[in-house]
Structure formats: structure tokens, C-alpha cells
Symmetry: C2
Subunit: 216 residues, 2 copies
Amino acid sequence: MTPIITAFERSPDGGKGLARDTRVRWALEEAGLAYEVRPVSFAAMKEPAHLAVHPFGQIPTYEEGDLVLFESGAIIFHIASHHAGLLPDEANARARAITWMFAALNTVEPPILDLVTVKFVEADRPWSKDRMPLVVDRIRHRLRQLAARLGSVEWLDGDFSAGDLLMVSVLLRLKPSGMLDEFPGLAAYVARGEARPAYQRAFAAQLAFNTARPTG
Amino acid sequence: MTPIITAFERSPDGGKGLARDTRVRWALEEAGLAYEVRPVSFAAMKEPAHLAVHPFGQIPTYEEGDLVLFESGAIIFHIASHHAGLLPDEANARARAITWMFAALNTVEPPILDLVTVKFVEADRPWSKDRMPLVVDRIRHRLRQLAARLGSVEWLDGDFSAGDLLMVSVLLRLKPSGMLDEFPGLAAYVARGEARPAYQRAFAAQLAFNTARPTG
């Protein structure tokens, strides 16, 4: 049963790979799974048909026979639970890798997403410029802690895991800001993630998806 | 092996149950597990000993023999994976319950936490008052979608699960704001969560912890 995921019909980033379908594509590639992609327009995301699949009207979703999932973290966990290569077998190592999945999404990504709020969502507000340094400082605080934990090892806890996949995906959002360059250890960690063949295939697939088709 | 969790030596909310140890206490109570609590002061949270357990210097953490975890979502998932009562056995239902865990933490909680930013962290900034309606609107948007999905059922997907435990915990943060009252279905859902004996025991335990001991 080939899983079907949804993606933006046209990603707002134009194919930079920052939309959340890229994370799921990456996990599918690491697991060696074929998949199909169903594009969803911004208008269709607010329609009952899509809200029945994703109650918050977002992408990606994941359909595999009777199973319908949303939330990229949950989709990646599902893939990792059923295929080798994304979570260790040993129980304690597995629990720690799952911890890094939650840490990426709940502790590291929220301050990074606030950069989107201040730069784009609230860009035209009078406080936008003055608020920026506060937002950047909160990100820097998290990056400093993450860099300290990572140290000079290759991945967060032993072999590459779904925890690294999500952490690298979250950190990639910072690339346009240049902030990663302040933390060479983290920049090298992100580069190791990007160098993985599975990431390369996922990135190429989303780029082709976002640029190759005629605009509908 | 009795697990040991960490909690604020004195919670900033003075025992209202909004610190994240309450969620973990609740999960432990649902699973019928005894546990110990180690208090951590704000000063100690920044020290190497605590950072070795929690790289981002927060609470709660979870120690069970050799296993050391952080991130309340990951801790609750670990408890739910090893004990009955928090995740369904059937594979698809289980994947959907896990989806609600991620949805609570990644889609519903971040806009709610922005209320803490605007009301407390940035309270003395000149934009605080003008920014508030934007933050509140973003929360309301999510609540509207969540209320639509919940409809008139008791829990988000079948029986009570760790997904409901986290969603109710996240929504409880809104209680002081009065915003839940705009969504009677969600207010009733939260009340059903609070009425569970396991929640009652967890709440009472954190209240006693935060009020009964002399200040150190």
C-alpha cells in the first residue's frame, strides 16, 4: 500500500524545502519507501474535505489504506515505528531518540517560528523592528544549549535517528537568517543532515514538485 | 524501580498546576505508578548537574534506573508505551492517539504560550497592549478548529488517551484568561479531564508540593 502525503500545491518558500512535507519525504526516503503526493491549494486547505483529514487545515497529512494521520512529528514517528533506520531497537536508546523528536518540535522550533511571526506575519506592525532582537535572543539561547549538548559528536545520541531528522529540519529554517553561522558545530551538524542521500532525494523531489508543474 | 521526576522547587504559578510536571504526574497516576519528585531551584536548573539531565535547563525530567529522559511529551509517551490506559492497543487507533499528542504540543500549545510572552515576558514593552489582540486571535483560530473537530464526543478519538491528557493540559493554560468560556464544548472537555481521579490526585500532589514545604 503506497502511502499518500499532502503538500502545498505551491510552497510559500518556492521550493527551499522548509515546508513540513520535506521532513516527511525525508523520513520516507530514509525508510526506503515509495510514496505519492497530493497537492492541496490554499483554498482547498480550508474546505471540509481537507479539514476531515487535517482538523487544523495544514499540510502534510498521511494516508495509508484506512489510516489517516496529520502532524509531521506523528507521521514520522509512525514511519519510524514500522521501518528500520530511524529509531534504535534498544528500548532506552529508542526512548531517548523519541525525546529528541519532541525536543526539536516543542523546545527548539517554537522560538524559531517566532522569527516567521516577527518577520512576516507582523512585519507591517510598528513594533516589528524593536521586537526582533528579543526573538533572536531567545533563539540564540536555545542554540547555545543545543550546541553545548551536541559538542563534537556526529548525531545527538548515537546513530542518526528521527530525532536528528527533526532537529536538522527545524534548524534548516534558520539558514536564511545566517544565525547558524554563529554556531559552527550546529552548522556542521545541519550540513551532515543535508548531505544524507535520503535528504538529497527528498529535497530534489519537493523542489521538482514546487517548480516543475505549471501553476494551476 | 520507582521513577524520579523533577519539578520546580516552587512553581511560578504557586500551585495552579500549570507547570509541566503536572502532566507527567497525571500520566503516572493514570498508569497507577508510584513516583518520587526531586525539587530543582531556578539556580540549580542552570547548573551542569541539571543540564546533564535536561540540556535546555527545564523541568520535568524522568529517571528510571539507567534511563534518563526530558521533554514532558516524550516522558508521557514512554509511560504510555509501557503501561495500560494511555494508548489504545489497536495499531491505527494508537497512531491516531499519538497524532493528538503531537497536535496538542506543536499546533495548539505554541499560540497559547505566546500569551505568556505577551502578558509576562514582554509585559513592560511598549507594544505589549497592541500586540495582545493578534495573539488572542491566533489562539481563538485554533480553538475554533479544535472545537469543530471535537464536536459533541467525549474524547478526541475514542477512549481517553495520552492525546487527551496533553490536549486538556494545554487548554488548562487558558483558564485564567477566560477564553475557554467562548467555547463551551472545549470547556466541558477540559472539565471532563479535570474530573478524572488521576488528574485530581496529580493536581493535589503538585499543590501540596508547592505549598506545604517551607521555602528553602
